[in-house]
Subunit: 207 residues, 3 copies
C-alpha cells in the first residue's frame, strides 16, 4: 500500500517522497521533450527548460495560488524546482536519443504521477478546509494544470480539454475516488492508495 | 432598486443573491454552449464542463487571487461552483435544443450579469482598501475575466480585446459609474444600482 | 552606481524610482504599440490599453501572486498602474507618428528595464526568504512575464520561449549575476548595479 500524502512533505514517508520527485522530474522531462519536438515552433534552450519546468510544477503552483496558504510548495522547497529543472535538462541534452524503452518508462511514470498528483491536490485542498467540489477541482488542477499551462504558453489549445484526451477523466476519477473513500471513513492511507490506483489504471486502460 | 454587493455574501439580500447565482449559472451555460459549438476543436464532456465553469467563475477567481484575501469566494462557498457546474451541465445535455427564445434569455441575463459582476468586483476591491484605478481594473476583470480565460484555454484570442467587442466597454462604464457615484457620496445601494444599470444598458444598446 | 531595489519602494531612492516608472511606462507603451500594429487582429482602444497595461505590470503582478505577500505592488500603489496606463495611452494616441528616434529610445529604455526588473524581482523574492533558484525564476518572471502574458492574451505564442529571443537569456543573466554577487558578499547596491548592467549589455549586444 502506498503511504499517503505526496506533495505534503510533513506527513509523507520515504517511498512517497521518492515517487513524488520522480513524478515531478518525469513531468518536466516529458513536457520539455514535447516542446523540443514541436515542429511548428522553434524553441531555444531557455524555452525548452522554461516550458518543461512549467509542465512539472505548473499544476501544483496553480493549486497553491488558489489555496492562498503562502508561497507555493515548489518555490518554498527549491528541491522541487531543482528536480523539475533536472528533468527538463535531461530532455534538452538527451532528448534526441530517447528510444522506445524510455518512452514506455515515461508513460508508466506519467500514469502513476497522474493519480498521485490528483490525490495530493485534493488532500491539500481538504487540509485547507474546502468542500468536496473545490477539493475535486483542485485535485484535477494539480494533475493536469502543468500540461495545460505549457500548452497555453506554447500557443496550443490545451489538450486536456480536447476530445479523446483521457488525462482529465483519469484525474477526476482519482480525486473523486480518494475523496469518496475518505468520506466513507477509510483511512487516509487507504483512500490515497485507492485514488492513485484508480487514476493509474484508467490512464493505462485508456491508452 | 437593487440591493448592493453581489458576490459578497455577508451583506447581500435575497434578490441580489438570486440574481448573482443566475448570472453565474448563465455565464457557465453560455460559456459551455460556445465551447460545445466550436467547429475547430472537438471538446469532450470534460472540456465542455471545465471551460464552462472557467467562463462562470474565472473572473471572480482571478480578482480574488489578485486581492489575496484568502481562498477565492467560489472555492470557499462551493454553492458557487455547484451553480456553475449546473449551468455548464445544462449546456452539455440540452445544448443541441437551445432555440431562439433561450438565446434571448441568455443574452438578457448575460447583459444583466455583466454590470453586476463589474460592480461586485469593484466593491470587493474597495473593501480591500484599494484606490480608484485598481478598483476599476478589478471590476472589469471580474466581468470579463471568465470569458477571456475560456478563450485562452480554448486556443482563441480573447474576444474581449478585439475590436467590436462591447463587453469590456460596458464593464468599464459599469465599474466607473459605481465608483464615481460612491465617491460623490451616494449610498452603496444607489451606486450599485446605477453601475449595474449602466453596464446592462450599454450592453443592450451595443448589440 | 545605481541605487538598489527598484520595485521595492521602501528602500529605493529617487534615481531608481524615476528609472522604475520610466521602465513601467515604456513597457506599457511598447506593448500597446505592438498590439496596435498587429496585422492579424484588430484591437479597439480597450484592447490596446488593456494589453499595454498587461505588458507593463503583468510580470510584477505574477511575481507578487506567487510570493503571496498581499495585494500586488501595482494594485497597492496605484501610481504604478497610472504610469502603465499613461504609457499605453501615449501609444494609443500617438502610435502612428512614432518614428525611428522614438523606436531607438524605446529600445534603450526597454533594455535598461529588462535588467532592472530582473534584479527587482529577485530582490523581492529574496526579501520573502526564498532560495537561489526560486529567486532566479521570479527575477526572470518579473522581467519577461508581462510580455509573455500579453502574447498569450493576444493569441500568440509567447516570443520569450521561441528561438532567437534574447530577452529570457538577458533576464536570466541579470538575475543570476545579482544573486551571485550578493552571495559573494558584495553590497546590495553593487550587486543590483552589476545585475542590471549585465541584463542591459546582453540585451544591447544581442540585437
Amino acid at each position: 500500500m502506498l503511504p499517503a500524502l505526496p506533495h505534503a512533505p510533513i506527513r509523507s514517508s520515504t517511498i512517497s517522497t521518492v515517487i513524488e520527485y520522480l513524478a515531478l522530474g518525469v513531468g518536466a522531462f516529458a513536457g520539455a521533450l514535447a516542446v523540443r519536438r514541436d515542429q511548428r515552433y522553434h524553441y531555444d534552450w531557455i524555452g525548452v527548460l522554461g516550458l518543461g519546468m512549467i509542465s512539472g510544477v505548473g499544476g501544483g503552483v496553480t493549486r497553491d495560488i488558489i489555496l492562498q496558504q503562502g508561497v507555493p510548495l515548489s518555490f518554498d522547497h527549491p528541491s522541487y524546482l531543482t528536480c523539475a529543472l533536472g528533468g527538463a535538462s535531461l530532455a534538452l541534452f538527451f532528448g534526441s536519443v530517447v528510444g522506445a524503452r524510455v518512452q514506455r518508462f515515461i508513460f508508466f511514470i506519467d500514469a502513476l504521477s497522474l493519480g498521485l498528483f490528483a490525490v495530493a491536490g485534493a488532500t491539500r485542498a481538504q487540509d485547507a478546509g474546502l468542500a468536496f467540489l473545490p477539493c475535486l477541482l483542485l485535485g484535477i488542477t494539480t494533475a493536469v494544470g502543468g500540461g495545460a499551462l505549457r500548452d497555453v504558453f506554447s500557443g496550443r489549445t490545451p489538450a486536456v480539454f480536447e476530445r479523446g484526451e483521457p488525462y482529465a477523466l483519469a484525474a477526476t476519477a482519482a480525486a473523486a475516488t480518494y475523496l469518496t473513500a475518505e468520506r466513507l471513513g477509510l483511512s487516509p492511507e487507504t483512500s490515497s492508495t485507492l485514488g492513485s490506483a484508480m487514476g493509474f489504471l484508467l490512464r493505462l486502460l485508456s491508452n
